[in-house]
Symmetry: C2
Subunit: 191 residues, 2 copies
């Protein structure tokens, strides 16, 4: 066995993933390495040691975010007051994650097979989580039934395409409207 990694290295890797995720949301996946290093409070050498290329970093953040998003689903369900509130907060996390996801295609440039498998992983992992949130909200009578997880995730994903082009376009506002539409008139008496 190769001797296991040093504790500080492990720590730094986690810090970097979190910092990169944050910076990606703020400045896009093409953000300067310096900015990510500063956000994480580490040197640039550290980033290059952990993630030799930008694609490595983007992929790592992607996996990390998928995982975080997946784990956040059940957690939010239990800590929020209502399933709908949990769903709203989950969607918010999901939107942040989409920056990374949309940057992935460029970062991987022409490795379309790698992209496919990462995309499949995304669907397998997040689809059920989103489904749980939707079911719970339906059970609680907070949203109308009938919408599929894939449909919602895809719709949100599409609303976020091209974000940043034009300051007048704010995907989050539209997504809020979408969710409002989903809950409108969905009381117990609804059919």
């Amino acid at each position: 066995m190769p001797p296991r990694k040093r504790a500080d290295a492990v720590r730094n890797e986690q810090t970097l993933l979190a910092a990169a995720a944050e910076v990606f949301v703020r400045s896009g996946v093409d953000a300067p390495i310096r900015e990510i290093a500063a956000e994480a409070g580490v040197g640039m050498g550290t980033i290059y040691r952990h993630f030799p290329t930008r694609a490595d970093l983007v992929v790592a953040v992607y996996r990390h975010q998928v995982e975080a998003c997946a784990e956040a689903g059940p957690a939010l369900l239990s800590e929020e007051d209502s399933p709908l509130a949990a769903l709203r907060r989950w969607v918010d996390l999901f939107v942040d994650f989409l920056v990374t996801k949309h940057g992935l295609a460029n970062a991987l440039q022409s490795d379309s097979s790698g992209f496919e498998s990462l995309h499949a992983y995304f669907l397998d992992r997040l689809g059920p989580v989103c489904g749980e949130l939707l079911d719970a909200a339906v059970q609680a009578g907070e949203i109308r039934e009938g919408i599929q997880p894939y449909e919602l995730m895809r719709g949100i994903g599409n609303l976020c395409i091209g974000r940043g082009d034009d300051p007048r376009y704010d995907p989050r506002r539209l997504i809020t409207l979408l969710l409002n539409g989903l809950s409108a008139g969905a009381g117990p008496g609804d059919r």
Copy 2:
């Protein structure tokens, strides 16, 4: 009326278009501005004056190339010994042009409507030219009939996708094979 442009400015613009086309083929559409300036033998200021953004330059080269390619069709037909030879040389020009075309999407970033119209212009202008070359070669019994201009152009275009990724992949070699296949066994006795 604004006074017409100075002679040297017009000359430089033409020189730049030719130089940029050349450099795009050699180094891709992301080639450093300095390299294009050097190729054209002008200063960088001159490029920025004529084409404030990279997209402006790419679009201008694109139009210029479409035009050149369109005019080259009939010219080659009359100066080459056979229609097939003319077709081969035309395809060669076309392949060079595709570098610019494929770079266009990135250069325009998110202006998809601008891209659409440029693409339509491309089809309208070059489709008929390609058709003429194909017809002439068929008439001369040099290639089999039945292939459509759009089909050929699209096929060649697709073969050129991702060029430069991998030195082992040479689109021109495959395109040569394609043309050989088009002419194989297309003698007068063929039916």
